[in-house]
Amino acid sequence: MVANGPSFRLLPRLSDDVAFFWTSGEDGVLRFLQCNACQFFNHPPGPVCRRCLSRDLAPHAVSGRGRVETFSVNYQEWIPGSEPYILAWVSIDEQPDVRLTTNLVDVEPEDVAIGMEVEVVFEHADDVYLPLFKPTSDGGHT
């Protein structure tokens, strides 16, 4: 049994450009900044679309489904009191070159594999909703 993350979560500052992302989970939905001109998802968020340089950008809901691109089971107590936890880079289904560094939950290390399908689950910490991922409940949608 591993933990959902470190014993203590360092948290992001909710500055204007990223507050939408870190609070998006309040309604259980993951959102990324999307370009209205070319539909490209820009992450991390910026003032212009990094594909077409349009400034017409707005947060847009995504399915919350993704794929484990790689992972690591961390044992070192970088943060004192932490039990082992699983880190992953998860790509989102809508645009797989967008990845999130995240924790995998509801899964044991021996059951994690690159390519496995996962879905978002939010952990509420103070005023932040951290997007974590768990194996898809329907066993995948291929």
Binding site: L14, N74, I79, T101
Partner: protein
């Protein structure tokens, strides 16, 4: 594509005329400025110069960035304590890996901004770590008012991705998936380093390491175990970068800078870089070979960054010593990377066993080998000749720089 230089690359006007290194140890109980002065004066003396000849200075990263013990003294501190009168000065943590300081110095010399540049890198991470474990970024949290994070750190710290060990473990796991990399292959980097460290009097760890020792080490962040992570230490390394006109005045062979690699063509990010198995080493390596007629097969020794063992595997491929994904089989058995092998690798023990001098130890060792001063660990190539071409690489993830050094001009 980068513009192919129509003229001789400017860095080729520079040489490394002198090298120096302080004592190196886990916890020396000496200040960073004291270690820096020791290394700097040794390098100046080695170049046959006095401090009055030094008219430039450069370091990585300068100005107190990073975790405790990481950054070393600033250039103003070193300038002042050595009483230097400078025409050019530079320090910074952004650029082509740790060796950005050497690359900047070579260009300053080529541009005529300085003639002899003192370049140094000092760490006291051994002392800073103390008796406790290695620290993560962002502190331990817990009591008191904890700061919030912005910038790129906000995307990793909340999830406990608080160390480069974790980010690079991700690269290692992906390589296992794509290329079939094994722990035994990773272990060859650690074992090779340990074998060479036994012949380096300044190395941190020199006790023999067998594969079963490696495999039995505790896991840090899978698939990286303790012996895949470098050894924090105290120490300073300095080199003097001079105009090549000074080569004739040296009492030892001049080490010429043949080409540097500085490119970063993918996204400057750990988790967004397009190729999770290589990252910016791919770009830096490619850009270096675009600036020289030399080929990977001309290289007599490679000093490739091993802050984590898997980074050396990345560099072996990025510099073209084997194909993409083939570094695992290249190091299999350890023969190809041994001192008498196809590509003698990390001949002073690297950072895994030699100590985490953070990039500059590799530059120093490349010069030692090219000058034929390696003593019992000196590389001798087939036919009995000394090494003439050395490749040096620093960095991992979105941070990478590389240089090709030669004995004499090529």
């Amino acid at each position: 594509m980068s513009p192919r230089p129509q003229e001789e690359p400017l860095e080729r006007r520079a040489i490394i005329s002198g090298i120096g290194q302080s004592d190196i140890g886990r916890r020396l109980g000496r200040s960073e400025i004291d270690l820096t002065v020791e290394a700097s004066l040794a390098a100046i003396n080695d170049a046959g110069l006095t401090r009055d000849d030094i008219d430039g200075i450069s370091t990585y990263p300068g100005m107190g960035v990073g975790t405790p013990g990481f950054s070393g003294p600033t250039t103003p501190e070193v300038q002042d304590v050595l009483g230097l009168r400078l025409n050019w000065h530079d320090g910074g943590g952004e650029g082509a890996g740790q060796m950005r300081a050497v690359i900047a110095a070579s260009l300053a010399v080529a541009a005529g901004l300085a003639r002899h540049v003192l370049v140094y890198r000092t760490v006291s991470e051994g002392t800073a770590q103390g008796e406790g474990g290695r620290q993560g970024i962002g502190g331990g949290g817990g009591g008191g008012k904890v700061p919030r994070f912005g910038g790129f750190m906000q995307w990793s710290l909340p999830f406990g991705a608080v160390s480069a060990a974790i980010w690079i473990a991700m690269v290692g796991q992906r390589r296992m998936h794509e290329f079939g990399l094994t722990r035994e292959q990773l272990g060859q980097i650690a074992i090779n380093g340990r074998r060479n460290a036994a012949l380096n009097p300044k190395a941190i760890y020199s006790a023999p390491m067998a594969m079963e020792d490696y495999l039995a080490a505790r896991m840090i962040s899978s698939p990286l175990c303790l012996y895949d992570c470098d050894a924090p230490c105290d120490g300073s390394t300095a080199v003097i970068v001079s105009h090549r006109d000074a080569a004739a005045d040296l009492d030892h062979p001049a080490v010429h800078i043949n080409a540097v690699g500085t490119a970063l063509r993918g996204r400057p990010s750990w988790d967004q870089f397009d190729d999770m198995t290589s990252m910016s080493a791919r770009d830096a390596g490619a850009s270096m070979w675009e600036r020289t007629e030399l080929k990977p097969s001309d290289v007599d020794t490679a000093q490739l960054y091993d802050g984590f063992s898997v980074l050396t595997m990345v560099w072996l491929e990025a510099l073209g010593f084997c194909g993409r994904g083939e570094s695992g089989s290249f190091v299999e058995g350890g023969g190809a990377i041994a001192r008498d092998g196809l590509l003698p690798l990390n001949t002073a023990g690297g950072q895994l066993s030699g100590g985490r001098l953070h990039g500059f130890g590799f530059i120093h060792e490349a010069c030692v080998q090219l000058r034929g001063e390696g003593g019992s660990r000196q590389v001798v190539r087939p036919g009995g000749r000394g090494p003439e071409v050395a490749a040096v690489a620093n960095g991992g993830g979105p941070i990478a720089g590389t240089m090709l050094l030669t004995r004499g001009i090529r």
